[in-house]
Every structure is written in C-alpha cells, then in structure tokens.
C-alpha cells in the first residue's frame, strides 16, 4: 500500500491570497448604524420610493422582528449583531448619478479594472451589458439604450420602483414573499438596490445581462434584490459576479432573487460568487445568506441555475424552482468549493407541481483545509404532478483529512407516475492521479486545479463563455495551498 502520509502533511494551510482583496478609497454616504423604522424610512427616502414600497418594507420589518434566525443548517458561526451593521452605504458621487461611464468615479473604474471587468472593456469587447452594484447602490448600467430598443428593461431595482411601478407591484415578493424566511424578510425590509429585468413577449435578449456586486465599505451589509420577469416566449441569460475586500470582521450579504418565467420562456441564471472567504485562520469573510427562487409559471417554461461558489466564509443558499406550468423544466448546476475554514450549506429545491415537469440537479462539492461542504436538496412531487422526471447527481471531493463533505437529499413523492433518480458519491483526488500529472510536468497546484476542473466539468460547461474562463481560474485560486 502506498503511503499517503506525505501528501497529508503537505495538506497544510499555506496562506492562499485573496486576489480581490483591495479596498477602494471613495467617500461614502451612510445611514446610521443599526436597524429601526427610521433607517428603513431613510433608505426609502434616499431611493425616492413610492409610498406603497415603504409600507411593504415596514410590514416586512415588523414581521422580521417576530422571527428567529434558523439554526437547522449544518453551519457553525456567530450570529450577526443586526444593530452593528450599516444598512445603507452609497458612494457619495451616486447622489448625482453618472450619465455615462465618463462620469463614473475613476477610483471605481480602477476597482473594476483590478477585478478584470473594466466597464469599457466589457462594453467594447464582450458586448455584455453590466449593472454594477457597489455596496448598496447601482452605479452604472451600460447598454441600456441598445436594450431599450428591443423593449428589454434592464435597470436598478430602485429605478424600476419609480419607472415601472405596475410591474414591480405585480411581481415583487410574488415568488419570495416578504415573510418567507428570516433573511429574506430582513432583505424585504432593507434592500438597498439590485437589478430589475423585464424581457417582453417573444424577445430573445440580444446579449448576456450581467451584474457585478461588490461590498466595499466596512461594517456594511449588502441586501440586494433581483427581480427578473421573462414574459411569454422570451429568453434571457443573466450573469452575476460578486467580490468583497478583505476585512477582519464578518460582513453580511442577504440577497433575494426572484425569477418569473411565463409560457415558453426561459431564464438562464449564472452566478460566480467570490466574496471574501476570510483568512486561512477563519477570521473575517462574508456571510452569504441568500434566497433565490424561480417560479416557472407558464407552460413549457424553463429555468436554469448555474452557480460557482468559491468565496464567502459561509454560504447558505438553495436556488429553487417552482415548476408550476405544465411541461416546465428546472435545472440546477452547482460547484461549491470550500477551503480553510469556509462552510457551505447549499443545494436546491425542485417542487414539481404541474404535469410533465422535469428537473436536473448536478452538484459538485469540493472540500479542502478545515472546511465543511454540505449539499442539501429537496425534490418534491405533488399529488397532481403527473409524469414528473428528476435526475440528481451529487459528487463530493475531499482534499485532506480535516474537512468534511456531506450530502443531505430529501426525496418526497406523492404521485405514482414520478420517476426520480438520485445518485451521490464521495471520493478524493487519488495519489495515482496526482502522480500521473506530476510525472507529465505539472506542479501540484496545477495538477489539483486540472483534476478539480475535470471533476466540475459538467457544471462548468453550463456557464456562458465570458464567465467560464474566469470561473476556471477561480477554482484553481480557491484551492491554492490546499495541497503541497
């Protein structure tokens, strides 16, 4: 038997540097620390919101006060002090919003350049329309005019509240109700910005839409809210990316994403989440507590969630699909990497309600260092959901013997015509694979990155090209120092 001791010994934490850990020095406008009705009124006023929205927020806030933070996930963390958070922080220059990129604070642009997403570059080279959410406000939206011509609305959710009140009233909170769960309810009370997308009937959105989120200011929470409506026969591919600077304290990110898909429409929603994960001793990092849900309301509607989760001290989210329309389709493709002291409890819910609905779940969890990686998923077939089909594959990869990989699937079937299949495996990078790569000249980190990328291939294939390359690199970076 070949000894693996040496590898184990080399599986020690070497400080894996967080490549995006710079702080942008911009003047900020903040609401006072802490949470009360006045802060919510302040946020609402800052956003020049209509009265109904303020009421909606306050109602959520009152509900939230009665709720308890749930403790069922397999996560170990100190619960946030909700009075020690700034709920609103906007770069000062946002008070008079830039009309074009030339007016955007140069410091900001530099930040995005460091991230490798300079706006100009994006605009010119990739043709991606980007909405950037910096702490709490949306700072610039590119390509808006081009989209408008096709009838596509792509703007910040604050603007939508003013400009498209009917759509907002109709759909906001219709998938994730204001009282859905502790963090979604908090978000409903204090959400500061986010993205609003409406794709009209029969329109295939001509470009990928994209949002970049970044938490910059210390002690701020980020509570963005995304609402996407795909009207009949439309299609949109939406990407979101996230980063945050290195800070010693934990920062809270509690977002809500609602997708509504009508007859024959499709939304492809891709996330590359690279919030600051904390340092190698588990200090600092983002708490990423997110509620994402899609309602496939129309017949033959389709939603596809793809997520690559490499960041955050704690990730806690289950992008879900309510398959209501007959023939609707839900997909969930996920890669979650945890290293050092990161924890992730993530997965999906597929609720089959309509007839002839189908869902696919492919989840790849990689755990290294002292991290814990949990897949938790529900496949539920309601009594009237004839001919439901589901296929689920959950694979876990362990790197080192101090981490954990867990799989907690729930399969609940109440209709005899359902066909559900769930498979899961747990394995490690074998010594043989590693040696084979080394013998061909790759160093240990290259080898691990290559093998892990191979392990995640089925998911990575789902990402749009613009994201795939970045995501591939991220996998390697996230595991730096985990072996050798």
């Amino acid at each position: 038997m070949v000894s693996t001791l040496e590898t184990r010994q080399t599986v020690e934490e070497v400080s894996g540097d967080y490549k995006y850990g710079f702080v942008t020095d911009i003047e900020m406008v903040k609401a006072p620390k802490g949470l009360n009705e006045d802060v919510i009124k302040f946020i609402s006023a800052k956003k020049k919101e209509p009265e109904w929205l303020l009421e909606w927020r306050l109602k959520a806030y009152k509900k939230w006060l009665t709720m308890e933070e749930p403790d069922w996930p397999m996560l170990d963390y100190k619960k946030p002090d909700f009075q020690d958070i700034y709920y609103y922080a906007a770069p000062k220059s946002a008070d008079d919003r830039p009309k074009s990129l030339d007016e955007v604070d140069p410091e900001l642009l530099k930040t995005y350049e460091k991230l490798g997403i300079s706006l100009q570059e994006q605009e010119v080279l990739s043709g991606v329309a980007v909405d950037i959410v910096f702490d709490s406000v949306s700072v610039a939206t590119t390509f808006r005019e081009a989209l408008k011509k096709r009838g596509v609305i792509f703007c910040s959710i604050s603007e939508a509240a003013q400009d498209y009140p009917e759509l907002m009233k109709k759909y906001l909170g219709s998938v994730v109700p204001a009282a859905d769960n502790f963090y979604a309810t908090l978000n409903s009370a204090v959400f500061t910005d986010g993205t609003f997308v409406y794709i009209p009937k029969g329109v295939r959105c001509p470009m990928e839409l994209s949002t970049y989120f970044r938490i910059n200011e210390a002690n701020t929470g980020q509570f963005e809210r995304t609402l996407i409506i795909a009207d009949e026969g439309s299609y949109v591919s939406y990407l979101e990316g996230c980063t945050a600077p290195m800070r010693d304290e934990n920062q809270l990110h509690a977002a809500v994403v609602e997708l509504i898909i009508l007859d024959d429409a499709e939304i492809k929603y891709s996330t590359v989440q690279n919030w600051y994960p904390g340092n190698k001793d588990g200090v600092g990092g983002i708490f990423n507590f997110v509620t994402k849900r899609a309602a496939c309301r129309g017949k033959n509607s389709k939603v596809s969630w793809t997520q690559v989760e490499t960041g955050s001290a704690i990730t806690w989210k289950y992008p879900s699909c309510l398959l209501i329309g007959d023939g609707s389709v839900g997909e969930f493709y996920s890669v979650a990497i945890t290293n050092n002291y990161q924890q992730a409890d993530t997965g999906t819910k597929m609720i089959h309600i309509g007839k002839n609905t189908s869902s696919t779940i492919i989840s790849k969890g990689i755990s290294a260092g002292k991290a814990q990686n949990i897949y938790r998923g529900l496949v539920k077939v309601m009594p009237n959901a004839e001919n439901t089909r589901n296929f689920t594959q959950c694979d876990s990869l362990l790197i080192g013997d101090e981490c954990g990989a867990h799989t907690v699937p729930y399969i609940e079937a109440k209709n005899p015509t359902a066909q559900l299949e769930h498979e899961a495996t747990t394995s490690k990078i074998s010594e043989e694979q590693l040696f084979y790569c080394l013998q061909r000249g790759l160093d240990v980190e290259e080898a691990v990155s290559l093998i892990v990328n191979g392990f995640c291939k089925e998911v990575m294939m789902q990402l749009p090209m613009e994201f795939a390359v970045e995501a591939q690199k991220l996998l390697g970076i996230s595991l730096e120092g985990s072996v050798g």
Partner: protein
C-alpha cells in the same frame, strides 16, 4: 437540535409513579433507579415532535393525547399461533413473548454450554449484579428509548461466550393478543456475541387486526471481535398497531453484523437501526423492504457510524406503496475523521403503485475522512408497463402480473440470504402482499 414541543410529560410522570411498584423486579432498588432516571430523561425531552428532523415523516401526535397503559401478563390462550408463524426445519430455541411478557409454556429454550438465553426478568433476578452492570453500560440514545427502559416489562438476554457457533437460529416471537387493546408492550433486549462466536436470530412481530396497541422493542447488541450476528425480522402487525423497533449495535474489530427486515403491517411502523463500527475491518449489512397501503406508514431510520478504519457497510432498502400507504427511508452514514478507507453504500428504491401513495427518502452522507468510498442512490418510480403487458400476454392477470413484479423488485435485497426458509418466507410475504389486499 432536540426540539422541545408542547408535550405534557406530567401524564407520563404520574403514570410512572402510580405503576412503578407493579413493574417486574420492582423490589430491586437499583432497577428502580434505572427506571426513575429514564423517565425523567424522557420527560425532559418529551415525545419527538414533527419539527425534530429524525421524525420529519412520522407524526406521533396520537401518543400525546392517549396513554397506552402498560400491558398485563395473560394466561396462555392460543398455542396455534407459534405453529403458524414458526419456520419449518428451524430447530433452535424458541422464545415467546405474549403481550410483553415471556411465556415459558410456549417457549422452548434449549440449554447449551457457554450460551445464556433467558428472559430479561429472570436474568435480573438470577444475576442482579451482572444485570446492573449491563444496564449501567446500556446506551439509550433518545427519549423513546428512555420511556421504554422506564416502563419495560421484560425482554430477552442472549450472551454467547467466545468461540461458539450456534448451529441453529433462535426464533423469537413477539405476540400481541386481543387483550392488548390500548396497551403498550415494552421490551428491552440484550445480545452479546463474544469473540469469534456467531448466531442467527429470527424475530416475528405479530398482533391482531383492529387492536390498537403500542409496541416498543429496543435491542442492544454487541458483536465481539471476529464475531458474527444475523438478525432477521418479520413485522406483520395488525392494521392498528404502533410498532417501534430499535436496534443499537456495537461492532468490534472484524465483527460482522447483518440485519434484515420486512415491514408489512401497523398504522405506524418505525424501524431504527443504529450500528457503530468501533474496531478495524467492521462489516455491517442492513437490508430490508417495506410494503404499505391503507394507512400503513413505514419509517426506516438507519444511522450507520464508522468510527474506525477499513470498515464496510451496506444499506439496501426497497419500498412498495399502494393507495393509502406512506413510507420514509432515512439513512445516515457517518464516517469519522479516523475512519479512513471506509466503504459505505446506501441504496433505496421505491415503487408507487397507485394514487394516494407516498414515498419519502433521505439518504444522508456525513463524511469527515478523505480516503473513503461512499455512495448512495435513490429512485422512485412505478411498475414498468411493458413488463406488465409482457406478463399478461403470457396469460397472467393484471394482479398476478403486478404481484410478480413486486416480488421481483423486493427480492433483490433478500437474495443473499443463506437460510433458505427465511429467504422463502420473505419472498412469499412480498409476493402475496398485493394479492392479499382489497
């Protein structure tokens, strides 16, 4: 994580205080202490409510409102029942419990050097010190186990010394009579198979239809080094019975533990198996099937713990649910950090035969060691219409065709059984289950 619910434990506290003096061996102070401690632990936590994750799929609300009185010993009435259920050609000892009490008339306990096989109450009165020690080392894991200890009326003890291989399987009959209406039947059993010894146990759980009784059966098992234990259970309770059966097993180095079960009766049936591999090269194999309809609710709950390296475990369960039947398989595999080179598998396949049937499955893996091979698979589906048509084209009617396919579906988990009579009984019950329905 244990959730306190709105359960009023005073009912049980009062009941216990009023009845403790009539429980078997009540004169023994230490046993009294054991019972008293157990009831207070139970009351502290209470009955598991619907928010307790482990009981997500089985609702115990009906136990909160009614107290099932402790069963009473009855005179032997019906001797045919043993004839009816006993397997032909199995020559080992027969241990019979009627309404929660050992029945010496119906039992046939054969003496063998180095083998202790006796009822718990006799064991306690004959070897109080040894018995006290056994209870000291006992490991109740949940509130229902505590309740069982507090109010147990008996059980059996099997201790096999080193190097003894029992030639014939022991058969144990758990019979509830018509007199068990609104009663609780609580047994606590201890099995200790010492190094390099082996034994086979066949258990039957039987109660009449329309008798609402609550059976609890808790068995603590030690499988010694290189020892081997096989348990085969047949649960064929009546339609109103609440059946709770828990097996805790401590598997030592190179120990081998097999547990087979078939559940086809009861309004609530809960089979819990919690083996822990505490030595190198431990081997655990858990297999079973549950068939439910018309108010049957089957819940199989396993918690397989690998604490030491190079252990193997397997879990295979099949569920068949017809109209009004409900099932849950909750399987957990836990691999501790030190349990490198573990192999663990879980498989749960379910058939839904009709509307109004429900199957739930939660195969869970909790892995803390990196050099392991663990996998699980779950499926839910219906019978293959092509296959039914094929069988019909060969002359079988619809029901017979379905019955045959159900038997085949279930057969997979019982295939490896070496005891032919046990295997045939399992298949027979599975095959005739469909036909015996309305």
């Amino acid at each position: 994580m244990t959730e306190k619910n709105h359960f009023d434990g005073r009912n049980y506290a009062n009941y216990f205080n009023a009845h403790r003096h009539i429980l078997p061996n009540a004169e023994l102070a230490w046993l009294n202490d054991v019972r008293a401690k157990a009831i207070s632990s139970f009351i502290e936590v209470g009955l598991p409510g619907p928010k307790v994750e482990e009981w997500k799929y089985t609702n115990l609300n009906l136990l909160k409102t009614t107290i099932y009185e402790t069963s009473e010993k009855i005179a032997t009435e019906n001797t045919d029942i043993i004839q009816k259920y006993a397997l032909e050609g199995v020559l080992g000892s027969k241990v019979v419990f009627v309404d929660g009490y050992f029945n010496s008339e119906l039992s046939d306990v054969q003496k063998q050097q180095g083998v202790v096989l006796t009822s718990l109450n006799e064991f306690i009165s004959a070897n109080p010190e040894h018995a006290e020690q056994v209870f000291q080392e006992s490991k109740n894991q949940d509130s229902l186990g505590e309740l069982n200890t507090a109010l147990m009326t008996g059980g059996f003890v099997l201790i096999i010394d080193e190097n003894i291989k029992l030639a014939e399987p022991i058969q144990i009959f758990h019979i509830a009579s018509e007199k068990s209406q609104a009663k609780s039947l609580r047994l606590k059993n201890f099995i200790n198979i010492k190094s390099t010894s082996s034994a086979q146990i066949i258990e039957y759980f039987i109660s009449p239809d329309n008798i609402d009784c609550w059976r609890q059966n808790v068995t603590e098992v030690i499988v010694g080094e290189k020892a081997k234990l096989e348990i085969y259970q047949f649960q064929q309770e009546g339609n109103e019975t609440i059946h709770m059966n828990q097996t805790l097993a401590d598997v030592k180095e190179s120990g081998n533990f097999k547990h087979y079960s078939l559940n086809i009766g009861g309004k609530i049936s809960r089979t819990e198996i919690k083996p822990t591999i505490n030595g190198l090269y431990g081997n655990v194999d858990l297999r079973g099937a549950f068939l439910g309809r018309n108010g049957n609710s089957h819940d199989v709950f396993t918690h397989m713990k690998h604490m030491k390296p190079e252990g193997d475990s397997n879990q295979s369960y099949r569920g068949v649910l017809d109209k009004g039947g409900k099932s849950a398989f909750q399987g957990k595999v836990y691999v501790a950090k030190d349990a490198q080179l573990t192999n663990a598998n879980q498989s749960n396949k379910n058939l839904l035969l009709d509307r109004g049937a429900e199957a739930n499955s939660k195969p869970e893996l909790l892995i803390y060691a990196d050099d392991v091979k663990c996998s699980h698979g779950t499926t839910v589906g219906e019978l293959d219409n092509e296959a039914i048509f094929y069988l019909k084209s060969r002359g079988l009617d619809q029901k017979a065709a379905k019955a045959l396919l159900v038997e085949a579906f279930v057969a997979e988990v019982f295939e490896d059984i070496k005891l032919q009579s046990v295997k045939s009984r399992y298949l027979e019950l599975a095959g005739s289950w469909l036909e015996s329905g309305d």
